[in-house]
Symmetry: C2
Amino acid sequence: MEISFSQKLTELEPAFYPRSIAVVGASGNREKPSNRFLQALLDAKFKGEVYAVNPNHSEVLGVKTYPTLSSIPQRIDYVICCIPSKSILAFLEDCTAAGVKIVQMFTAGFSESETPEGIELETEIVRQAHKGGFRIIGPNCIGVHNTEINMPYGISGLIGKSGTIAFLSQSGGVADTLLKSGFRRGIHFSKMVSFGNGCDLDCLDFLEYFTLDPCTRIIGIYLEGIKEGQRLFRLLRSVASHKPVVLWRGGRTKVGSEAAHSHTAALTSCYEVWSALSNQTGIIRMESGEEMADVLLALQYLKGFTGHNVAYISGLWDGGGGDAVSSADMLTSMGLELPRFSPWTEKHLRALLPPAGSIFRNPLDMGSSGYRPDILFHTLEIVDADPLIDLIMIQMHIDDLLTDLGSGSTAAIISTVIRFSKGQHKPVIIISTPGVPQYERWTLEGKLADVGIPVYASTERAACSIASVIRRNMRAL
Amino acid sequence: MEISFSQKLTELEPAFYPRSIAVVGASGNREKPSNRFLQALLDAKFKGEVYAVNPNHSEVLGVKTYPTLSSIPQRIDYVICCIPSKSILAFLEDCTAAGVKIVQMFTAGFSESETPEGIELETEIVRQAHKGGFRIIGPNCIGVHNTEINMPYGISGLIGKSGTIAFLSQSGGVADTLLKSGFRRGIHFSKMVSFGNGCDLDCLDFLEYFTLDPCTRIIGIYLEGIKEGQRLFRLLRSVASHKPVVLWRGGRTKVGSEAAHSHTAALTSCYEVWSALSNQTGIIRMESGEEMADVLLALQYLKGFTGHNVAYISGLWDGGGGDAVSSADMLTSMGLELPRFSPWTEKHLRALLPPAGSIFRNPLDMGSSGYRPDILFHTLEIVDADPLIDLIMIQMHIDDLLTDLGSGSTAAIISTVIRFSKGQHKPVIIISTPGVPQYERWTLEGKLADVGIPVYASTERAACSIASVIRRNMRAL
């Protein structure tokens, strides 16, 4: 009884574009999750109606509060439920009476508890939902985030710039970490959903939705278990050809898989199923949150990009030779190329840069002269003009620049790169290896992120991500 | 004509414990390397005499300045030379006349330039050194750093706490990055040396010295090429059995190797030689600066440690389930174990932590209750008492704690871990995955580093480093 794709878009409309949200159980006690969910909706300035449900209050955090869902005069699209699992059945009756569309259950204590009662209760809530005409996200989850309508992710009121990446995650924490680390790096999400145990709506539903969602161009997935392997396989193969999909599977080892069962009651599948998923569907597979963030950033930036030829530039300030040598190792061992510059390029670089301490082949070591904005800009122009080069990578050591040269000079270097990138140039990627921590580093990296220039903490991480993206883009041609 | 080990210690005494240093070419122009070297000696409060040499000044940056080395009344142990390569021969005559011991040549433009003149000039300076009775470090290098006598590394006046790690590097920049990133992480160095082209003193000399140096317990090496493979092999095999050695080889790929030749004139050797080096000598091999820092930190902390059994704790504040699952994957796939807790441990954890949202096996998810210092401390005590556990790893998300709970509560959590670690407990390792950047994170991570608790940015990086160290320690038993 599969429903059609376009039906899925309509069916999940109240999950991703709710006009009204009610938080059940909010009491004003700031330590309780219900209040944190409510506060986040207020902080984020959610573009819809917000209500609280609590029989003992008429107002919580300044929000009009009703004793039940069914006593709210407006129809409620999306309910956030944080009440204990023992009171859940009475609550679901209220949901039915009120005619709500989506119930997101933060509440835990179901099948993931591995107790007969928890397992039975989970079966029962699904039965109630089907009977009552609403759908459940969860239980044991954080639910939906939609930047477009200022619908915050769970208990944090943070709303980033609307982007094109949808992330669906069995774990609420994994999505939260990605969202927060992505915030400073300019990884922009369209939507997110964490679905925990996925007892009703699950991975396949959300994946179908994101496949059709016009705001979503890239899909990231963190998954601990699958229920319908064949359907997922077919779906991934069909999605991956037109939207890049990055999949991180938690629970791939024995201990991880046992933990996954206690976490989201996931039945992690055998190795063969997962291998087939990545090898035959064209998805990108990752094995950590860092890798996931890195590759989503590269996908966002290098849309359809298939160029393999990287120019690596180091030595802006202090010795760049070791960076040049070791980065050449990392880039080429990932399958990228560092072609030797054309004679024209080398000639012009030799005329511009100091003869001693520089390396004029590619990788280029600027011999500590690149901290001068004029020289840096001119170097970028020369390298950009080289027909053998597709992409420019610059090792900046922003912490070190700030430590040694101070704010003004470092900001001028960053502005130079930004000014260059605004011309009709080849893509620029910045490496900023951490040094003695300088807070201004975040500000400057933020400026780069704001204009869409990706920043990586090491050449290794950049190389790995870019190579994955280029491989994917080649395959999708 | 190999000299004996103890002779090496005496011979290199003026390199690592100079009583007097002269900077040749300093003029007061702050942009010039000579002045930056001189300023760094002053900033670091070098425990010895400092002189400048410049015929046109009697004082530079407040330092007594002489026209030549030979006109300085005191005998000079260590000379820092930043003058252009064309004036180098006259300068070396002055070195001979003055009876200096060590000449560190920052000056570049020798064999790494790949020109006949550069190559010939390098041969000539070695000839002059042998004739004049002094040794050369470099050319094209940053030279020696010794924390014990406040001898700074190159042009930065930064002096960290004296430690037990010696780092020898063909690249000045690689050593600089390691020093700076290590500064905030509590990676403490005894000595460092970057030797560039290594035309006279080279890797083998410094490795012999560090092997004997009583202040050095751990040796890190960044190397782009080797001249005497058999000698290096024998030496590494003999050192590695009593001092851990970590080797990162730059120039392992074709393009990297070509860049290495332009960087330090290194003749990178074939793959087979390097494989033999790591497989048969018991050294730890790394392929990036991040990995080098990570593993040095683990070596410093886990002296002789061979325990494989990790307890992983997550869920201090928000959802720790995904962290638990994915970290179990990362730790076990690196060969570490996460044994299930003993029944006693599980019983006590169940009595302490919230029933819903927690995972009571190992990995442990504290179900968002670990932000309370009393509960965290008690949990650590319970886990510590489990005889199946050797090492405790805690996922803290310090950025997120600061964002959500503020400074005071986060500092209290950090203090709890520090207080726990001060008891007679099992080693603790902290994971602090970056979130929305908070500057206080560095302060708090610094507090952990100050008491010797290692902090890693991801479980993956911690797992990889710890596993390498344990494998090495097992082998050295």
